[in-house]
């Protein structure tokens, strides 16, 4: 009886505090919508085709400014990834040059074991080329961004395991520019020179010009002749999925193992409980 009271009182207190938090929430940033990611949930896996498209967007658009220093070419044909063949990866790597002190001229064509070459030699050079703003590295960026959910939602996240706030934010950010004239801001907002207004970027003044628009990347039709829309919405979803993969390449395997482990533990706990009861049978306690 007493325990029940404790639980009720605690929950009541938490809800009370939660509603205070919600009341305090500032309304300036619009709500970031959750996307139906294939890799969310306990059975989540990456969609190979989506990762390949996302990689294409990254390569043709993002990679001219953004590095991905922890991404190795070999990752592209590792299990659970975009599923390129070994030959494709080898050929792709050979198109790039990497620094190698032992090579003639200090550079050589890349091999699958090499990491993705950065577009700039160092952070300072990257800033200079981008109006003072440093384009962040893509390696773990999808996990370095997130959405802070209001009270009941963040508590539910513990039980649903929802960790896709990063890709949600990236998707929202890419769609958060004001279409007609990206340099314009809502009335009363002082937008510094060389910045762009974005609904979702913290502080709204972002250094990155709208990087991608409808039709900027041409998707090859799939083997079955299916075409994927060449829209900003599609590009942003694909590249966000790709970025989640670069940040968490072993996600699918991890979740599969986890499911087996969880099943095992539940079964084992049931056996342990039965054994414990048998041993304690006959002891008043």
């Amino acid at each position: 009886m007493f325990k029940t009271k404790i639980i009720i009182a605690t929950v009541a207190a938490l809800i009370g505090l939660g509603s205070v938090a919600q009341a305090q929430d500032h309304g300036s940033t619009p709500h970031i919508e959750r996307q139906p990611w294939s890799f969310a949930g306990i059975f989540g896996t990456y969609d190979e085709h989506q990762l390949q498209r996302g990689f294409q967007v990254f390569r043709e658009v993002c990679a001219s400014c953004h590095s991905a220093r922890l991404l190795a070419f070999r990752n592209l044909n590792e299990e659970g990834g975009p599923g390129f063949s070994e030959e494709q990866v080898k050929a792709l790597a050979a198109e790039y040059e990497v620094a190698d002190a032992t090579a003639v001229d200090g550079v050589r064509p890349a091999v699958p074991a090499d990491r993705w070459p950065s577009p700039f030699a160092n952070d300072q050079e990257a800033r200079d080329a981008n109006g003072g703003a440093l384009p962040p590295d893509f390696s773990v960026l999808a996990k370095a961004r997130g959405v802070s959910d209001p009270f009941p939602t963040w508590a539910f996240n513990y039980f649903t395991g929802y960790q896709e706030g990063g890709p949600d934010y990236i998707h929202a950010l890419l769609n958060g520019y004001h279409e007609e004239v990206p340099e314009t801001a809502p009335e009363g907002f002082e937008l510094p020179d060389g910045k762009y207004y974005n609904d979702y970027f913290p502080g709204h003044a972002i250094g990155m010009a709208p990087p991608i628009a409808d039709g900027s990347v041409t998707y090859e039709p799939g083997e079955d002749g299916q075409t994927v829309p060449e829209t900003l919405e599609q590009y942003s979803t694909d590249v966000a999925a790709f970025m989640m993969w670069t940040a968490e390449p072993h996600l699918a395997g991890r979740k599969q193992t986890g499911f087996v482990v969880l099943l095992f533990l539940v079964g084992f706990a049931a056996l342990m409980w039965a054994t414990k009861r048998k041993i304690w049978a006959g002891i008043e306690h």
Binding site: A72, R74, E78, T102, V111, P112, A113, F264, L265, G267, F268, L271, M272, A274, T275, K278, I279, A281, G282, E284
Partner: protein
């Protein structure tokens, strides 16, 4: 409901009585047996099957626990194995096209220095002329090269004596000479004189194309 309650009460009273009687026995290793002795007086006919069921439960729990423990131990050991970034360099490709005849280069494979030598016709001739009987570690020149690519000699640059790196184009047999303890190798990298017991090791390799070598 009432019947059950009465039953529970009698059980409890009996348990209390047995409790005091067996209090000391509980401490011995035979406590479990003791408890079943207590039951036996009342339930002789079910005793055997319940013991079996209990033993089965214990064995099943123990076995499942052992499987779980083994499944935990394996990743803890497997993490010691070479990781993905190391394995990615286990096989390398090298273009020998740029090496002039009579020249050699040293490349790195799995952390080891590897000699790649473009041998002259004279060197090949010299290596082929050596009778097997003269060799400490008999191997023909053909066994140490690839067919149609016999001008290429690929060897791990580590003296088979104690692991020093031999010096090229020197020694009494026009091959390699190890300055550490004076081992002489011939133009096929075979040991001819000195303390080294074996020929210089040829790593696993093959020609992917006419000039592209895949080592490992």
């Amino acid at each position: 409901m009432t019947v059950q309650k009465v039953g529970q009460l009698t059980d409890r009273l009996r348990a209390a009585a047995v409790d005091s009687a067996r209090a000391d026995d509980l401490w011995g290793a035979g406590s479990v047996k003791c408890r079943s002795t207590g039951i036996r007086t009342l339930a002789t006919h079910t005793e055997h099957s319940s013991t079996n069921r209990r033993d089965f439960l214990y064995i099943a729990t123990g076995a499942v626990g052992a499987v779980g423990a083994a499944a935990v131990v394996w990743p803890l050991i497997n993490q010691l194995n070479p990781d993905a970034s190391t394995l990615a360099l286990a096989t390398i490709e090298f273009d020998v096209g740029a090496i002039e005849e009579g020249q050699s280069v040293t490349i790195t494979w799995r952390g080891l220095p590897v000699f790649v030598r473009h041998r002259t016709a004279a060197e090949i001739e010299e290596a082929k002329a050596v009778p097997l009987a003269d060799l400490k570690d008999p191997e023909t020149d053909e066994q140490r090269t690839k067919p149609d690519h016999e001008q290429w000699l690929v060897m791990i640059a580590s003296c088979t004596h104690l692991g020093c790196v031999p010096v090229g184009e020197s020694g009494d047999f026009d091959g390699w000479f190890c300055p550490c303890h004076g081992s002489h190798y011939d133009t096929a990298g075979r040991i001819r004189r000195g303390p080294a017991p074996k020929n210089l090791v040829v790593p696993p390799y093959n020609f992917v194309s006419d000039t592209l070598v895949q080592i490992g």
